[in-house]
């Protein structure tokens, strides 16, 4: 495996880890609100959150390219804040990936939160637990399998991202050249040996991740 490929792998791991962490922080309050609210906003927000699952990644990438540019709303914002433009940067990829992997983290959490009976929370309240205390002592332990699912799905989904990165990455080594782009490059240049090497690695990694998930978090009768 060449140095460039190793760099691509490291960059991918960095991106996926950072994105997953950010998502766990953002998704928790969002999923909680979606699970518990009765507001009319619930349906539109649920649809918005689920949008990246249905939208072709190139559409998301294209709109991000335009929005992050100097004439787009996000681009103008980042420039006013003195951050320059996010396109072609690692930070830009993080932003794009957070949007793209959001539903994969929010949905498992939302389902888990919804499954917690109101009675349990009321019991905690009668025992004088504050909402924050209730959340960390009661909700999180009950939702632990969902957190694992969300973490693994978010991470794996970001590792596999291609369309968005292709549109806004610019294929810069060490900055935005992630594994999926590197494999694509190798195939285009007809360097099939390198393409095989990286692809096999990704395949084994994905399988291992799913194996861990389903062993620790069994579905079906054993799950309880």
């Amino acid at each position: 495996m060449s140095a460039a490929d190793l760099q691509a792998i490291w960059l991918t791991v960095k991106l996926a880890s950072l994105v997953t962490l950010i998502l766990l922080v953002i998704a928790t309050p969002l999923a909680w609100w979606l699970a518990r609210t009765r507001s009319w906003l619930k349906s539109p927000v649920v649809a918005l959150v689920a949008l990246p699952i249905v939208l072709p990644p190139t559409v998301l990438g294209f709109y991000l390219l335009v929005a992050l540019g100097p004439n787009g709303p996000l681009g103008r914002l980042t420039q006013d804040l003195g951050w320059g433009l996010l396109s072609f940067t690692f930070a830009g990829l993080v932003a794009g990936s957070v949007l793209y992997s959001l539903p994969f983290v929010v949905q498992p959490l939302q389902n888990a939160f919804e499954a917690i009976p109101e009675r349990v929370l009321e019991t905690a309240a009668t025992l004088r637990a504050s909402p924050i205390d209730t959340f960390f002592s009661v909700v999180v332990p009950l939702a632990r399998p969902a957190y694992l699912t969300a973490l693994v799905l978010g991470f794996a989904h970001t590792v596999g991202e291609f369309g968005v990165v292709l549109m806004i990455g610019g294929n810069i080594p060490r900055e935005t050249r992630v594994v999926s782009i590197a494999i694509y490059d190798h195939v285009e240049a007809m360097d099939y040996a390198s393409a095989h090497g990286l692809s096999a690695l990704m395949l084994i990694f994905s399988f291992a991740v799913l194996l861990v998930l389903y062993t620790v978090n069994p579905t079906g009768k054993k799950a309880k």
Binding site: L65, V66, L68, N71, L85, F88, I168, G170, M190
Partner: protein, 259 residues
Amino acid sequence: MADRSRPGLRRAAALIAFSVLSAFCAFAARADQVRVAVASNFAAPMQRIAEAFARDSGHHALLSFGATGKFVAQIANGAPFDVFLSADQESALRLERESLAVANSRFTYAVGTLVLWSATPGTVDAAGEVLKTGDFKHLAIANAKTAPYGSAAVEVLKTLGLFDRLAPRLVHGENIAQTQQFVATGNAELGFVALAQVLRDGKIGSGSAWIVPAGLHAPLRQDAVLLARGRGNPAATALLDYLKSDAARALIRAHGYAL
């Protein structure tokens, strides 16, 4: 009731199925269709040529645009193209050597011109000095490994002795079309694109540009070739002949290519 209406229903269903099938067969049987793989930089002129070709000959050209390198990989793996319009000569030669293209069908259909372009007026001066004095964050070029305009851009930078200095600021488009998107949306302040992409009615349509002198890089001779799959397809040979005609050449020249 069911028994009496069923034969009628079955007949209707059979008729529909037959009509649909015949329609499909008609599509498959039409030999006056030619599938063309076209290098991205030639997209605009090729669309005009295809229209004129359809008017003059009645044949339909189905165009696919993309990076030359990608097309070579796809053709080598069985992509169903009849004709290939490359952005260089090496790709067409390579297909010929591997017997994926028909011998003696290769010819140069255009000679490309590289241009350093920016979407903002005033960024690029007419002599390209901005590359030296350049106060820009990103310079877009096409992927040098798969796009001839990309490797020509790298050649220009090396000839000018600016490659090492500007390499960290390079952004690579998957093909010349994506490179132009990067520049057009302003994400890259400037970039090396094909003159054909920014020419409108004989002048640079918008923004600012430096037309790169041909001496700074190996000539961008673009070759067309009849692919093995297109052998015996009358529309394919007709298209290649049409590309050599005066009408087509005038169109190609009007789009910023030399011949």
